[in-house]
Symmetry: none
Subunit: 213 residues, 4 copies
DNA sequence: AATGAATGAGAATTCATTCAT
DNA sequence: AATGAATGAATTCTCATTCAT
């Protein structure tokens, strides 16, 4: 009545080059041309829908929107949660890259600000990200945790630089900043605040954490 | 929580006694006493559980916690959403009262601050309120809207007084303030920030909207 | 994304006597008149269908056959497996009673034989029982295990008496007997052997375990 | 496993070369060599897995184990059931050969016994065979039926010889013997009885059918 | 001819809501 | 008026089979 067969389903298959008569310099995996497209379509659809309606949307809706059968969706992501995770992790990775970029800004304060603005921008339109981050403290998934941890570290670099430059209060933790910005964006996003107004809100927060020396 | 409503009952129907042949010898229905008690018990249980586990808890759990049958629950609230609504509306009414109270504070700035702190306090422990408010912009229910509108007006009084007293920037809308505080509380609440730390976050926001001149 | 609410669902509710104006000597639980009937209907339907088609039949079929909705079925049995278990356990209990009865037979050999015949009789028409017993060694469920253990003990009493009376070989374990009878019945049942012929098969087995002294 | 068959392919279709303009310079298709190898690999994998985990294993697992794609598997066997059938039929053919061999034994009794022992031996480790045979009476497939019939005939030869030699009761049908041995093996196999003990069970059955005169 | 991606009809289970007692 | 049993649509996920590459 309860079995389990079936070895773990790898999300990204082995990279095989076509074994037959093909010449030298071809890309490393010409295989699965349209499978890759489907993967992308699913990801895209899921992003849109999760961002719009939250993570509670039935998964068939996602499949339908992606234009594939549910079976296909499940071939690419073994679980609804896995799909969700992939989206969030991808987005977190993007934010890490953004943070790294901002860390190169010679003006420490400017670096922090531009990061938070970009962060806010993404946050405002992607509910799912924030549902995820918001729940991070509660229902932590390992994969999440690692990337989130990583992101925190990067943001902390930005914050510390700004503190060292005397521009930001030293009693504000990175987590505080995230809660402020993230939460505000969440609320703003849901009550339909547009981008420009959102930036104003971020500016208020920035003013709040400014060193009042 | 956001789809079709088949029943059209008002949330709290007027309590009608059977209109036919009954006026003579029947008791005047003091039964309403313990019906009222049930109403209260349900409300209390729902508050606790929604606040604790979010609005996704199955409604039987609420009934069980309240110590009544589901049937009874449904007699009092025609819909899960109606129950939910009643809680939020009640709480909003409480906040309106708080706002009125704070408006009596001779120090305008102090009035605003103490309101926002109380607001944050409630928010930090009651997820449901803010799930609700957060979604208010999207899935507006008429009853919500009215009370929310009302609350906004009261907060605006506080804000305006502080602005007039030169203590708060005049380019910050009431709605902005709500988004900032509410969103932050939401995020903080979900990541398990305690009351003291939450007050620090509110203080940061207050610093951010302070008139810098 | 993954919650759990909901306290464990007891299969048999608390036994409550009607609290209102009812007289002295009423049965202990006049409540749930038709719920009990449904429970029975489900059990009956499941027995028939499992016995006929094996345990792989979709559960809606069982519900349909019982004339109830699936929801109802699940109210009575929290799991398909639980339903299955209940049937098997009930039947095993019946066999235990039979064994006890047979143990009263003054003729030890006769006691054993009549038990095995009854056993075979039930086995031949109830596939599920034997699917269950057959798998007992593999996918043991605790509840099964206990009752099965119990049954084995009772059968062993019968066997031992017959051995002591010099009628049965002493090198045949109870488990051996069960495998022989059960297995044969399973095969016979599936190939459509009728009751009379089945008894002949049992007699062959009995002949095989007879003490050849 | 027991419903509609949409495709109507024969289980092992004749291998046809394209009938059009091709006779001249094309190779004579020695390709069938490795196609045959695949056929064998699939059969082997299926045997192992079905015997180990029963016939409910998803077919992809079989393909994976065989080291071929599902597509390939389906090219060789139009249906899961067809694959299953082929295995059983092959095994039945093996048993027919064994029976023929045993029929050469000058000692009739010995011939029957050694056949049944070999039969039991195979049965004990190959669940699938007996799941299949067990269900043969219910869900008969034509191909099965023929081979099974054939096997019965051969066993009957063995039985009759033993009866004629006065060693075996004449009121035991071949089918009875099969039910006894097969069923016992099934049960024993599932409850994890090892080979030696299984032989003991077979001996009990043999004792049971021995001519008692 | 081989591959494995796509498909979609089920299957088990949950939960808001209705209804008989 | 209260109870909790019944209901069934909706949801997640599986797996035999088909089809494009």
């Amino acid at each position: 009545m309860s079995e389990d067969h079936r070895s773990v389903h790898a999300t990204s298959g082995a990279v095989v080059t076509a074994p037959s008569a093909d010449s030298a310099m071809c890309e490393p995996r010409p295989m699965r041309a349209d499978a890759a497209r489907n993967h992308e379509k699913i990801l895209l659809a899921a992003e849109e829908i999760f961002a719009l309606d939250g993570v509670t949307v039935p998964i068939d809706i996602v499949a339908e929107r992606a234009g594939v059968g549910i079976g296909t969706l499940y071939r690419h992501f073994p679980t609804k949660e896995a799909l969700y995770e992939e989206i969030v992790v991808t987005r977190l990775r993007g934010l890490i890259a953004t943070a790294d970029e901002c860390a190169k800004n010679p003006d420490a304060q400017e670096g922090l600000c531009s990061f938070l603005r970009e962060f806010a921008h993404q946050a405002s339109e992607k509910h799912d990200l924030f549902d995820a981050l918001g729940q991070a403290g509660i229902d932590i998934k390992v994969r999440f945790f690692d990337v989130l941890e990583e992101l925190m570290v990067r943001i902390d670099v930005l914050r510390q630089r700004a503190v060292d430059a005397g521009r930001v209060r030293d009693d504000v933790a990175t987590k505080d900043m995230l809660n402020l910005v993230m939460g505000t964006c969440h609320a703003a996003g849901q009550s339909g605040v547009d981008g420009a107004n959102l930036q104003r809100l971020v500016d208020i927060i920035l003013a709040g954490i400014k060193n009042p020396n």
